[in-house]
Symmetry: C2
Subunit: 157 residues, 2 copies
DNA sequence: AAAATTAGGGACATGAATGTCTTTATTTTA
DNA sequence: TAAAATAAAGACATTCATGTCCCTAATTTT
């Protein structure tokens, strides 16, 4: 019993909901931009299956950060400027949404966990965090969009 | 600016607070048990720098799960039975605290993210999650206690 | 100019995780 | 036997992320 359960390990959400929506929205917007279309809030919420009003907030943040561009009025919506998609890294989206609460979080919650003063989990956890850091900082929005455009990846359900 | 900030990546807490306290408490209790002492709630809260009443709740769960043993009354407290420390894996503590909300969480929050129906981040995130899973399932409580006993690792600040 | 369509923004609502308080139960000590 | 020390348990309080509502601003269409 325990063995079976443990096979599916509990992994807490890595990103906040707001951040998940932001990344998914950005991918959808970028894919629409590649096709020369703007994405409206309503389209986005439908396509990524997210609450509309809440998603609007996160899009505002992405917009203020210059990651996406918004246009009001009929046929307005959101877009990603062409050369931006390859420049924007996922880490920048995370930063835009979760603000400057930027830190290296100890897995056991110590405030001052470091090489000199490590928690018992520190050395084991380090390669995992570094791997994640590596990926998030080196993956561009375009990298994630291409699979969606080709139909190999999905944004909802 | 952005570059500097990005160096310290935002990593959301992997474990809940309750779970962090539980792991830290279990490590402390096990280290005391190795010395033949029971650890009282008060001692534990002091040594791992956690809120006493809240920590009590998590200890109750560990106790009900049989990971630790509690004794009431004067000179009572919590202990880890000797042969248990090497048997208990960190994944079991996590399971005891966060209950059976066991799942393989999609990093972008999709409900049905899998090899056949992957989110855009799936393939990149997979090795990170597997690495983490590996570690949490193969690290025993004793593994984490030994560094504390030898003074190489810490449980607070 | 008026109406329709879209994003922006503030205020409020909800829910879950975290944290506290108080009382009870059990055991040991005096 | 009484008192002290300890964990157990339930009820309550607080905080924060998440989510909703409603009105405003800007743009396009009619």
């Amino acid at each position: 019993m325990s063995l079976i359960l443990c096979f599916n390990l509990i992994i807490k959400p890595m990103f906040s909901k707001a951040c998940e929506y932001a990344i998914r929205a950005a991918i959808f917007i970028a894919s629409e931009s590649e096709r020369g279309r703007r994405a409206s809030l309503k389209d986005i919420a439908r396509e990524i299956d997210s609450p509309e009003a809440f998603t609007a907030k996160t899009l505002q943040k992405l917009s203020r950060s210059g990651i996406i561009v918004s246009t009001k009025g009929a046929h307005g919506g959101f877009e990603v400027k062409q050369d931006m998609a390859t420049k924007i890294k996922i880490s920048e989206i995370v930063l835009a949404i979760d603000g400057d609460k930027v830190y290296t979080r100890c897995s056991l919650g110590l405030h001052d966990c470091s090489e000199n003063h490590p928690c018992p989990f520190h050395s084991r956890f380090k390669p995992v965090r570094n791997g994640l850091k590596e990926i998030v900082e080196n993956t561009s929005l375009r990298d994630l969009t291409s699979g969606l455009v080709s139909g190999d990846t999905f944004l909802k359900i």
